[in-house]
Symmetry: C2
Amino acid sequence: MTSSLMTDLYELTMLRAARQAGIADRRCVFEVFVRSLPAGRRYGVLAGTGRVLEAIADFRFDAEDIAYLRSLDVLDEDTLAFLADYRFGGTVLGYEEGELFFPTSPVLRVEGTFAEAVLLETVILSIINHDSSVASVGSRMVTAARGRPCIEMGGRRVHEEAAVAAARAAAIVGFAATSNLAAGQRYGIPVRGTAAHAFTLLFDQEREAFTAQITAQGAGTTVLVDTYDVAEAVRTAVDIAGPELGAVRLDSGDLAEQSRALRAQLDSLGATGTKITATSDLDEYRVEALAGVPVDSFGIGTRLVTGGGHPAPGFVYKLVEREGADGLMHPVGKRSENKSTLGGAKRAFRLGAAGTARAELVLPSAAEIYEFERELMDELDRREASPLWTEATVRELQVPLIVDGEPVETPTPAEQVARARARHEASLAELGLTAEDGPDGHLAIPTITDGLLAAAVLD
Amino acid sequence: MTSSLMTDLYELTMLRAARQAGIADRRCVFEVFVRSLPAGRRYGVLAGTGRVLEAIADFRFDAEDIAYLRSLDVLDEDTLAFLADYRFGGTVLGYEEGELFFPTSPVLRVEGTFAEAVLLETVILSIINHDSSVASVGSRMVTAARGRPCIEMGGRRVHEEAAVAAARAAAIVGFAATSNLAAGQRYGIPVRGTAAHAFTLLFDQEREAFTAQITAQGAGTTVLVDTYDVAEAVRTAVDIAGPELGAVRLDSGDLAEQSRALRAQLDSLGATGTKITATSDLDEYRVEALAGVPVDSFGIGTRLVTGGGHPAPGFVYKLVEREGADGLMHPVGKRSENKSTLGGAKRAFRLGAAGTARAELVLPSAAEIYEFERELMDELDRREASPLWTEATVRELQVPLIVDGEPVETPTPAEQVARARARHEASLAELGLTAEDGPDGHLAIPTITDGLLAAAVLD
C-alpha cells in the first residue's frame, strides 16, 4: 500500500495541464500553516512531521495505481509516465515535531518543481491536520492534570488507523501511556489497561471476577468498581488483594464526589497506597474541575482523539513563491475575499528572553528577513551588557528535513516520538503557562510578520 | 498489517484472567448500539459493516505480534498460544450497512465464546463509530442539497486512511463522487476534481492558467474563479472555452450573493449551460441556506469528514447475555449510575405502514419477542382487510453476516458500497423527511422495547 493515491484527483489534472503548458518544472515553494487557532486556544502543537516524512518516502505510483489512473481517462500517457517514475527530489524544511505553532507559523515548507510538490498536498495535510488536532488538545489535558499521569484510551472512538496515530500524538504531548497495542508496537509507547464491565458481568459474582483478575494480573492490577455498587466492590477488591491493590477505576457518575468517597473508604480499609483512576468522557475542562480531587490518574478517550471539539486545525498547503517567466522567484498569494494568503517563502523564529517566549516571528520575504537580522541582531549586540538581553533567545524554527530528496535523518519511529516529546516539553515551558491559568485564554504570544517590529517585542 | 493489534490491552488481560478462571469459553452475546443521538439529529446512519467483516477476517496474530505481546510481560504463554491460533469462529448479525439507527438499535451482534468475542471490541467500535459519524451527517447534507450533486472533498482534513473510509461512507449516503483517488480505486467511487489556487498562481497570468487547463481537460472542465477577481476570471474563462465551459468553482466570500451574480454574468455571456459549484466550509446548514440559490453542485469537506460536530456517535460494545454456571444463557447489564445497559440479546424490527416507518422495535428478551410476535402478528392478521394494514411492513433489521466463523457473503468492496447506498436510500425514504423539514428536529421515530406496545404504534 503506497501513499500516492491518498491524493485528490485535481493534483494530477493540474499536473497534466502544467506539463502541457510547459511550466510544470517551475521551482515552487509551498507552505503549510493555519490562518487562526480555535477560540480560547493559546497555542497549537505540531504533530505528524515524522509520519509525513515516511509518506513522502513511500510516495510512489505502482503498476496497479497507474492502471487505475489510466482507467479514469483524465490523464494522458505522458503524465502517467511521469507518475510511474515519480520520486520526490525536492527539499522540505519544517518546525520540529512537538513544536508549538501560532497563526501563520510556516510549520512545513516544501520546495521543488510544481510537478513534484503539488502532488504531496493531500497526504501532508491529512497527516498534519489529524495529528496536530490530537496533540493540540492533548497538551492542554496534560497541563490540566497537574502532573498526574494521563492515559490515552480513545482508539475505539475513531478510525482504526487514526487511533494509532492519535496515540502517537498523545505520547508526544506528554501522555504517559496508551491502551492501543498497535501504537505500543509501532512507536514503543507504554501500554496500559484495566478491565471492562463485560469482564465483571461474565462471572456469576463480582467477587469471582475480581479474584480471577487479581490471580492473573497480581494485586497491583486496576479493578473496575462501578458495575454494580461502588462501595461494595471496593470492599470486595481490598478483601481479596489486600492493601497492595494497585488501583480502582471509576467510569461513571459524579467523579469528584465518588473519588472523595472512594479515597476515604480505601484509606479506612488500610489501602492507603491504592490509586484511583478516573475515566468517562474526560476532557481538559473536566480534568481541570478535578484539581484537588483525589484522582491519581486519568484515562482519556473521545475528546482527546477527536481534537476536543476541533477535529481539524485548518492547516492549508499554499503556493507562496514560484519561478516566473523571467527565471526569478516571485512571491504569490490569492486575493480571495475572506482567505487571502501572505506570499513569499517565510522564515520563522521564536523570540524570547530569559527562557520565556515573547513572539512568533514569521518573516515573509528576503527584505523582511534582512531587516530583522540587521535590526534585531544589532540590538541584541548593543544590549549584551544587560542581564535580560544576555539571555535573549532567537530560535530559528524551521530545520531541514529532506534535502534534494534525501532525508536528513532517519530516526526510528520510537526515536521520533521521544524527540518530539522533548521538543514539546521544552517549547511549552517557554510559554510559562501553568494549570492555574485554566485551559482557555488569549493567544500566548503574538505572531509578527514585520522584521522592524521584532526588537520592540523585547522592550 | 493485521487488524489484531488495533485493540486495547485490557481485552487481552481480561482474556488471560478469564482463561485462568476457566470460564473464557462461556457463550456470550455482545451488542453494538448508541444510548442516544446528538441533539437535533432525527436519525443516524450505520456505516462500516463491510469493513468490520474484513477486519474480523484479518484478525490474526502473526509471529511479530506475538513477540511484541510477549515483550509486554502481562500475558502468560498459555494466552499467547491461544492468540497465535486465534480465528473468530462465532456468529455475527447486524443491520444492513446503510440502514438507519436510533437509540438502542442493536446494529451489530457478536455471538461466540467470551474469548473470541471480547477481542473484537476495539476494532469493531473504531470502524462503526468512524464510518457512521460521516454517514450520519452526510445523509443530512444530501437531503439539504435537494437533488444537486454533492462531492466529498474532505480527505485533507482527517487522517489519511480515515479519509478513504470517509469517502466510502459518503458514497453510501448518496454523495455523487469523491476527490480521493484511493477511495476511487478501492471502492469504485467516481472521482472528480477541479483546480486549486496554486494552479492559477503558478502562471504569470490567470488567462494562461485557464488556457492550459481548458487545453488539457477540455472545455467541460471546472475552473476556479476566485484567485483574483471573480467577474474578470469568468469573462476570461468563457472567452477561452466558449459557452461549453463546464463549470466554475467558488471557494470564498458570500456564496449566495456571488452565485447569483455569477449566474447572471454567465447567462449574459451566453454560457447558460455552465454550472456553478460551491465549496468552502459547507455543512448541511449552509447547504440548506443555499436552497433556491443558483448553485448546481456542492464540494463538501471538513464538516462531512469530521462528523458535523459529532465525530464519534458513541457506539459501545456491551456484553448483554452470557452463559452462567448453570449452562443457560442469562441477560446481563451493568447498573452504573448514568450508563446502565439493557440486558438480553435483542431482535430489532422497523415497523411501518404504507411505506412509512413508524417505530424502531428493539425487543430485549425471548419473552418480549414472543409477546410481540403473538400480539402484533395477530393484530396484523386481524386487520388485513384494512387498506392501511395490508401495506403494513415489519422488517427484521438484523441479518446474518458471519455464521460459525464463515462470512455469509463476500461481496466486493464496490458491491458493498452499492448495496449499502440502496439500503440507505430505501430506509431514508421510509422516514418521509424532505429538505423542507430542515436539518434538525426530534427523533424521526420512537424506539420501543416493549412488545405489547408495538400494535399501539400502528393505531
